[in-house]
């Protein structure tokens, strides 16, 4: 074990990665969120990574019940939650055991020594006591009796049971970390005041424990360094910390306001998409209609009904839910009605890994329906740009009259980052294609010549009464048609409609290099990790490696082949076994495409990406 340094020194760091780990009931998600929010308010750039088990309260002390929350803060641009830890806070032996591998050698681990009982060591399957057997000698281990110190701090507070007292020990840990990184406690104290408005004893107890941890760290000679991370240089503006799922919900609120439509959500609870439902049900003041339906199919079907009747209609789900929605999605594209389906991807197949991230629904989004059934597919790539791509998905579906699938994933949906708030006034216009007057020449499948989008004639409009349905329709009147030529024509139109969306989406702009040796290709939620890897490589002198990251999957940007042709090699990196690579191979057989895939339920690490890219260019 490294001895603590005698003298206190102030050290300014560019970036720090901290992980809080404990039982799933220990409040690690809350602790991590408080630390990241406070750091963002201080002006740091931040990225977070919550990693928790699917069990709500797994058996205490078990290895599989460990819940973790990682926070990366910096005075520099931060694009990932970080690979390795500068500080691990482990609330019990299981938290230590499952996370120790991530701690940088020589760096710090704070443990709640009270939790290292014989029983807990056994549950964590330790054969010897890790704090005593010398196995941690490469780290600075700070043993703190957090449970007993928390009890001591609360001995004079009335009206608390033992369980509430012990549960607040996470605030002791947070207090210590606040002191270590020179963070203000105020944000968290404000949070207590708001959250426990009706329970003053909890405001008092949590504040006391937070302070106790803070002052304990201050007075403790054992804390070796007084770190600080300066504010980051970010574009001027008003910011807030936002979670990907919240940003997605807000993007739709903005799109509804801009388009002048009411927002309808039909949804069935599923992890990790449920937070979008939770967010949207709060906003009845904006006229949001949210139906928690009886199942996934009713979620999308009610949205189709609402769309037929003139609302901006969306449905939200995760992997298995998208499978259930397949048939109805086919109906929506046959009807040529606007509809956004949000799929927050998680580990699959089947129930898979509900709380872990993956990019393995891509081919399902592209092809998971019967018949020739193309839809627009877009993917958000950071927690905050979930706002922009939700907005964009709404704009595309309303202006092109065909369903859009918006892909996010558990990693960006649960992760949070600073968001430079965008006013609706500054967002691009959205022009729904509502047909308003009963023109005698009007036909239900009349199309815009440029986009091939049909008009949207909604019930209640006199003179435009018409019928739509899942049977193949005559290309103009929309009446049922079994005519062979008509079916060919309609199939071609539905495909061409999607293709023409290319004229309305931005071209692909590679970063780091416009031409050269290797183009690293990614899509969706891996952007932050790929960006960090490319930045590392650039700093180490690598010049001709570019990054092309896709947000538009179907159709692909017009200039995709042109961008690819400027590089000698292509490396597609994704969290599946090569789904985007297969799409690219199909559309651009002229290129040789190499792959880097990982399917562990975890995001890419910067280091593994750097290593792989170096291998490719050496």
């Amino acid at each position: 074990m490294i001895e603590a340094k005698e003298e206190t020194q102030k050290q300014v760091l560019e970036q720090v990665v901290v992980r809080f780990a404990g039982d799933s009931g220990d409040g690690m998600q809350l602790t991590g969120t408080q630390f990241s929010d406070t750091s963002a308010m201080f002006g740091n750039d931040v990225a977070t990574f919550p990693n928790y088990p699917a069990e709500i309260r797994a058996p205490q002390g078990s290895l599989y019940g460990v819940s973790g929350f990682q926070v990366h803060i910096g005075s520099v641009e931060i694009s990932t939650p970080g690979d390795n830890l500068d500080l691990l806070v482990a609330m019990n032996p299981a938290g230590l055991k499952t996370n120790i591998k991530a701690v940088k050698p020589g760096h710090m681990i704070i443990v709640d020594a009270d939790a290292f009982t014989k029983k807990n060591l056994e549950k964590a399957q330790y054969e010897s006591h890790p704090l005593e057997d010398g196995s941690l000698e490469n780290y600075q281990v700070i043993e703190v009796g957090m449970t007993s110190l928390t009890k001591e701090a609360l001995k004079d507070v009335q009206g608390l049971d033992n369980k509430s007292i012990i549960r607040s020990k996470n605030m002791f840990a947070l207090g210590m970390v606040y002191w270590m990184y020179n963070r203000s406690k105020q944000h968290t104290i404000d949070f207590f005041n708001k959250k426990f408005k009706t329970k003053p004893e909890l405001i008092e107890s949590n504040t006391k424990v937070l302070n106790a941890g803070y002052f304990y760290a201050e007075t403790l000679e054992l804390i070796p360094n007084d770190y600080t991370v300066a504010p980051a240089k970010m574009p001027a503006g008003t910011y807030r910390i936002i979670m990907g799922n919240t940003a997605t919900a807000w993007g739709f609120l903005a799109a509804a306001e801009k388009s002048g439509l009411e927002l309808f959500l039909g949804s069935y609870p599923i992890t990790p998409a449920s937070d979008i439902l939770h967010e949207l049900v709060k906003h009845k003041h904006f006229g949001v209609k949210a139906l928690q339906a009886e199942d996934e199919i009713a979620g999308i079907s009610s949205a189709i009904g609402a769309s037929f009747a003139g609302d901006l209609a969306i449905t939200t789900t995760s992997g298995p839910g998208l499978a259930l929605k397949g048939e109805a999605l086919g109906l929506a594209l046959m009807l040529e009605l606007p509809l956004v389906v949000v799929d927050v991807q998680r580990g699959g197949p089947s129930t898979g890994l509900p709380t872990k991230t993956e990019q393995s629904d891509l081919l399902q989004a592209m092809f998971g329906r019967n018949g020739e059934s193309p839809v627009i597919v877009v993917a958000a790539s950071t927690p905050s740009n979930c706002f922009n791509y939700a907005y964009e998905a709404a704009k595309l579906t309303l202006e092109h009259m065909t369903p859009v699938i918006l892909l996010t994933d558990g990693y960006i949906a649960n992760g949070s980052a600073p968001w430079k708030i965008q006013s609706v006034d500054d967002m691009p216009d959205i022009k729904p294609l509502k047909v308003t007057k009963g023109d005698s020449d009007w036909q239900p499948y009349d199309r815009d010549e440029e986009t091939l989008a049909r008009g949207w004639a909604i019930p209640g409009t006199p003179g435009l009464e018409h019928r739509v349905g899942g049977l193949e329709k005559d290309k103009l009147s929309g009446q049922v048609s079994y005519d062979p030529d008509n079916h060919q024509a309609m199939t071609d139109i539905r495909a061409e409609k999607i293709k023409r969306v290319q004229n309305y989406i931005p071209e692909l702009t590679p970063e780091f290099a416009q031409e050269g040796e290797l183009l690293v290709v990614g899509w969706g939620g891996t952007y932050g990790n790929l960006y960090a890897a490319l930045k590392d490589l650039k700093q180490s002198g690598v010049k001709d490696v570019g990054l092309a990251h896709f947000n538009y999957i179907n159709p692909l940007p017009k200039n995709t082949a042109e961008v690819f042709s400027k590089f000698k090699k292509l490396l597609v990196c994704e969290l599946n076994t090569g789904q985007f690579a297969s799409i690219l191979k199909m559309q651009f057989p002229q290129f040789t495409i190499n792959q880097f895939n990982k399917i562990e339920g975890l995001p890419f690490g910067t280091n593994e990406l750097v290593e792989k890219i170096n291998e490719e260019i050496s």
């Binding site: 910011y239 807000w250 009845k284 079907s301 609402a306 769309s307 009747a309 019930p459």
Partner: protein, 337 residues
């Protein structure tokens, strides 16, 4: 609530230009005409009427109505129609479904629609068979019934639609024979007036795959003796001679003859469709002799959309947010300079 119209429509105004393609002799024609005749009497604007269907013979119905309509997917019409109604509560929304569509593949949506009590009018074409797929047994087919998929007899006991619906908290349930268009139109008009989910089961003969399935109740010569058409507030009398009636004997319904054993009209049950307690309604639904038709249950209750809009008004009144910027810039924001 739909706005009424001053326009004078006839049934022809509700017929689309599409050729009707059901089999000759199918009761579906009778139902279509009864709906087209009911709508002018309801007095709703044509453009405010929406028909939503699932899949099956009956589900072609919207194509034949000159209103807004959607031929949806199998079993999902209740969910689609719920979305239509929630998006625009001003519309008069009708669901057209069959016994397979509503009680097999769409069973889940069917019960939840009833539970929520959204203001929809649901016409359930029950012919105790799958017609469009050419003759398999359905969830209402009888045990022992020989069909394409049960050549040795059906082994799955049937649902009784009314029993299932009332069990799922249906506030309005009516049953009518497929060959009595006047009774049908009457029930459709009452269903539209009723606020909440109104379910009408039509006993619909399928002349091709299940011919005569209801003839013991619906044939012209037996109809009056075998059916009791109930009306709210009226005694339960039936029979060609109007001399049969229903009384409650313990926990069972019993058929009595007026004038025998001193029975008078005063002894008969008086139909109360509007009571909340569904016990007697369930007994009427289950009765095989007489088969009870008419509006068996019509208990007025708060609709789903009334609950939703009351909540929206309340939230709006207590919120300072009027546009999304108010939300985005609220709470914990910070400035970067």
């Amino acid at each position: 609530m739909e706005t009424t119209t001053d326009k004078k429509y006839t049934f022809k105004d509700f017929a689309s230009d599409q050729e009707v393609r059901w089999c000759p002799g199918c009761d579906d024609y009778v139902i279509l005409r009864a709906v087209q005749k009911a709508l002018p009497e309801i007095g709703v604007n044509k453009e405010d009427v929406v028909f939503i269907s699932g899949i099956g013979c009956s589900s072609r119905f919207p194509y034949y109505m000159d209103t807004y309509g959607m031929h949806g997917i199998h079993g999902r019409a209740p969910a689609i129609a719920s979305g239509v109604k929630l998006a625009n509560p001003e519309l008069s929304v009708w669901v057209i479904t069959g016994d397979g569509d509503s009680m097999a593949i769409g069973g889940n949506h069917f019960i939840h629609m009833l539970r929520r009590n959204i203001d929809l009018n649901v016409i359930l074409f029950n012919n105790e068979i799958y017609g469009l797929t050419k003759g398999q047994f359905s969830p209402t087919s009888l045990v022992g019934q020989k069909t394409k998929s049960s050549p040795f007899g059906n082994t799955q006991p049937p649902f009784l639609p009314g029993e299932l619906a009332i069990g799922a908290q249906a506030r309005f349930f009516a049953r009518v024979g497929g060959n009595t268009p006047k009774e049908m139109s009457h029930v459709f008009i009452e269903a539209e007036k009723f606020k909440g989910t109104s379910l009408i089961e039509v006993l619909q003969n399928c002349p091709i795959f299940n011919d005569g399935c209801f003839s013991k109740y619906t044939d012209k010569d037996v109809r009056e003796d075998k059916q009791l058409f109930v009306e709210h507030g009226k005694p339960m009398i039936f029979g060609k001679e109007k001399n049969k009636g229903l009384v409650l004997n313990g926990l069972k319904l019993e058929v009595v003859t007026l004038g025998e054993n001193g029975i008078t009209e005063e002894d008969l049950l008086v139909h109360d469709a509007q009571t909340q307690d569904p016990t007697l309604h369930q007994m009427l639904v289950r009765s095989e002799y007489p088969l009870v038709t008419g509006i068996i249950r019509g208990f007025p209750d708060v609709t789903f959309e009334e609950r939703v809009s009351a909540l929206v008004e309340e939230v709006k009144a207590n919120s300072s947010f009027t546009k999304t910027d108010d939300l985005f810039f609220s709470g914990e924001t910070y400035e970067v300079t």
